[in-house]
Assembly symmetry: C2
Homo-oligomer: 115 residues x 2
């Protein structure tokens, strides 16, 4: 079981010098979403009815193959950006609450380290 | 002269489906800072006296060679995250106003496209 990178992270970048460990955790979280297909997946899922989507809803709007979409969803899930639930033969995805908010706080010059 | 990627970007991720072009611009901006050394440079510069630093101030705290630090500073400058000014033989860097704020807005579910 991998530990979600956004659970490990994210210290604020600007409120003091970052340690190497903190910088590596935040960089790892940013790398996960620094990908056009993954950014589009987050937007597509958030804007579906009930803000959830199965892989089948995402293949056509993204214009990528089903295995490629499934891979991106797996990476986003393992990093902690998505939650998922199996219903019958389909897996449904929704945004993990406030996962992008953790990154926003890390980039905010006025936010200090979370407890 | 390269065009700063954060001038091109950043459409909000969550307020509607992202186009492929918008997603590529935002991903490019995120890739620039998805690097531990560059994140540490932003924090080090922001926390120097007067919030500015020359390369010579940054080599020792970062623990990297001067050419490596200069390369990271150049990438951050060309992407639009840093401003720079030549004074004598030294180049001084400071954070470009609100450059990280543009990325924060892009990750905010309540922010709509800037005019």
């Amino acid at each position: 079981m991998s530990t979600p990178v956004i659970q490990l992270c994210c210290p604020p970048v600007l409120t003091g010098p970052l340690s190497q460990d903190d910088a590596e955790q935040l960089a790892a979280a940013l790398r996960v979403i620094a990908d056009p297909a993954r950014l589009r997946l987050l937007g597509l899922i958030k804007n579906q009815p009930d803000a959830e989507a199965c892989t089948c809803d995402l293949v056509e709007p993204l214009g990528l193959s089903q295995p490629t979409v499934s891979h991106h969803l797996k990476v986003l899930y393992e990093a902690g950006f998505l939650e998922r639930e199996k219903r019958g033969r389909q897996t449904w995805y929704r945004l993990a609450p406030d996962s992008l908010g953790i990154l926003r706080d890390a980039l905010d010059p006025n936010v200090h380290q979370r407890a």
